[in-house]
Symmetry: C2
Subunit: 421 residues, 2 copies
């Protein structure tokens, strides 16, 4: 087994935490921002220091290549992202990039032989915080192989014109054109030149921590459905309309929301569902709400469970408290299973290194999920403290980061030795 | 009894409906906007045509005075507003001003003798649509006499600095300074120079229409309390947080909202209460809501009923679905009773003219409510079709407008003859 340098890893974590640092120990590092470019510069500097060749594609995805022994043509890539949400933490995404760098640095320093070119990669705009949606660039690269239900959401031309949340006059394309890291389309990761992709990521949930496990052997990204539940009432004056004449869309929406919770709670306990967003019109304290819409996001590995969710949604009455109720499907995806052989490499590495581990699925979406339609792909999870992520207190102890990198290092080297597409 | 000119009234309604006309038959006429100034110009032109003297005070409130016979010093004022909400109708506010004009025109045309100076008045910024809050200028003029619970909301200096909802760089003060109708502070309506105020207004509710009554004899403006119900949860990732670990503020808020509805529905049926506004944070479909706040506005004539409402609000548990619940009083007011003698003049006029009528209270706030702290005041309601107001389909049939003006005309003339403070 091979081992990385804990000290070098710690130094990277500390250094990258300064690019876009917030007052409270987190970072705000929007993709293609000044801070993100500082992080990219550091990535380039460190990778060139070990002799890796660094180039970029037309979406500014970055690739640092450590040459193999020339016996194999296809590359193995370890990838994640350097961008964050607003007031995010120092681990989500960036830890995957730092781990990939640490793997290459270890292989270079310890002169570990390998056949394939090994690539540490940075995805552009995974979070989609400034230019929605999330996973934009991995979706563009996977477009041809995406399921048809997904394709509508990821048309390249539309995505390039995604407008900045902070400045509607600026598009993602503008930011790309202004970036020194915009490169050549021919450099895009592709099916022909690549063998496999690995992504290490923090779990973003409390399961590993609560089970006292060091490593999550990720088997799949959960299937999901996403609905908008629309409630049509009638706005009237709060002070002058007797209760019996009212069609109060927020009152009706609360009943619908609780009905959905009640029914969905009868499904298997590992179903996760969320009513996270609500829109109310006109949303004035002196006016009866005329329209309310809320989101329902439900995720489970088993498509039959998702079907049950859909059945419950469609069992809603057409009218609640004199308001019309209309559920509308926003989008859905089936469970994406990772490559069984690669998953097994991760499991075997965990066993060999004696790290506590478990199979786990990913409730969140990741670039790896998109690339799994194109290449054999898998993920490694490490625990985040109390499961917190996308916030400044997000934290993964250094020991866990180190263990994660060691798994990545050994799994990739096994892949290098044994894996065939 | 005296009668106004239906034809002249109709002409005014039609003419004023053009100032700020929307595509769908309504108006958008923010206070001190170009459209509002067109309406003010028309008011001035028509009032000067009958020999009324028109002047304004420092808040651009407009006064058109038809001189009395000189035997009485104090003025009787009929007042309402010309400004509207966005996409409002052609009756809310403006009908009160047009009625006041029609009364003066009738008295002038028919040479009806009167002791007091009679004033048709336009309040600036009653709606507060562009520069919140509503009833701003009547509150400023009444400030010394307002109940202490109200005073905090209506400090003149703060109100003058109210920022435009459409352009935060512009304050109400800026709009005042730019208006040709900004006049002298000494012209403000006041306790010493004025005897009484009348305001004719559409009901803004369905009671008169449903009871087939022409005239609402308004006795009071309902007492009310206004709460913010705050729910503190914890935001976590929608896909990665098992249900049992969640503290979902929107789920908890729905339970709290329905509990409040259930309990409040046990109170007297003429209580009106509204949960009209909801704020959810971070309000993202993939994140569990960490914070939800909703408004509760409750109105009833009897202060004991309002006390029951407050008791129910404070009976809320401190914790619902693992989320902390905290109700906060935003503001409250006691029922404001109009002057009994003036109310009686309205009743007597309705009887004498043979119009169907009823006692009614006002659930909505009006400038008359503020001025009732300063002067003997009352209101007259006319029905609005299906009770709709603050919308483009707001409509009051011409016959009802005419009847309302006849009541105003005769009640004011009775007041002129008999009323003493």
């Amino acid at each position: 087994m091979y081992f990385c340098s804990k000290k070098r890893l710690e130094d990277k974590i500390k250094t990258f935490s300064t690019f876009g640092a917030t007052q409270n120990g987190g970072i705000t590092r929007y993709s293609l921002s000044k801070e993100a470019h500082q992080a990219r510069d550091e990535f380039k500097r460190r990778m060139e220091k070990i002799g890796a060749q660094v180039y970029t594609d037309d979406l500014a995805n970055m690739y640092a290549i450590l040459k193999g022994d020339g016996t194999k043509k296809e590359k193995i890539v370890m990838a994640s992202h350097l961008d964050s949400v607003k007031n995010g933490g120092n681990y989500d995404g960036v830890l995957g990039v730092l781990s990939a760098m640490e793997v290459l640095e270890t292989i270079h320093d310890q002169n570990i032989p390998h056949h394939h070119d090994l690539v540490a990669m940075v995805w552009t705009n995974e979070e989609g915080s400034l230019y929605p949606p999330a996973m934009m660039c991995s979706a563009i690269l996977s477009y041809e192989d995406l399921p048809s239900s997904f394709k509508d959401c990821f048309v390249e031309e539309t995505l390039l014109n995604s407008r900045s949340v902070l400045n509607p006059n600026e598009t993602f394309k503008d930011a790309l054109e202004a970036s020194p890291y915009k490169g050549d389309k021919k450099n895009r990761l592709n099916k022909k030149d690549y063998l496999a992709m690995f992504e290490l990521h923090i779990e973003q949930g409390p399961i590993l921590t609560n089970n006292h496990n060091d490593i999550g052997v990720v088997t799949c990204v959960l299937g999901m459905c996403n609905y908008r539940i629309k409630i049509y009432g009638e706005s009237d004056h709060a002070g002058t309309t007797p209760m019996k004449y009212r069609k109060d869309a927020l009152y009706a929406a609360s009943k619908v929301l609780l009905y959905l919770h009640e029914q969905l709670d009868k499904l298997p306990k590992d179903l996760v569902y969320t009513t996270g967003e609500i829109i109310c019109q006109p949303n004035v304290h002196t006016v009866i709400p005329s329209y309310v819409e809320f989101s329902l996001d439900a995720r489970h590995e088993n498509p039959d469970v998702i079907k049950e969710v859909v059945k419950i949604i469609h069992s809603l009455p057409n009218e609640v408290e004199k308001c019309r109720v209309k559920p509308v499907l926003a989008w859905e995806r089936d469970t994406v299973y990772f490559n069984k052989t690669l998953v097994d490499y991760v499991l075997k590495a965990s066993e060999a290194l004696g790290y506590t581990h478990q199979y786990i699925n990913s409730g969140a979406g990741h670039d790896a999920q998109m690339i799994s339609y194109v290449l054999p792909t898998t993920m490694i999870f490490v625990p985040s403290k109390d499961g917190h992520s996308h916030c400044e207190i997000e934290h993964t102890p250094l020991e866990n980061c180190e263990k994660g990198v060691n798994i990545l290092l050994n799994a990739v080297l096994t892949c290098d030795k044994n894996f065939e597409k």
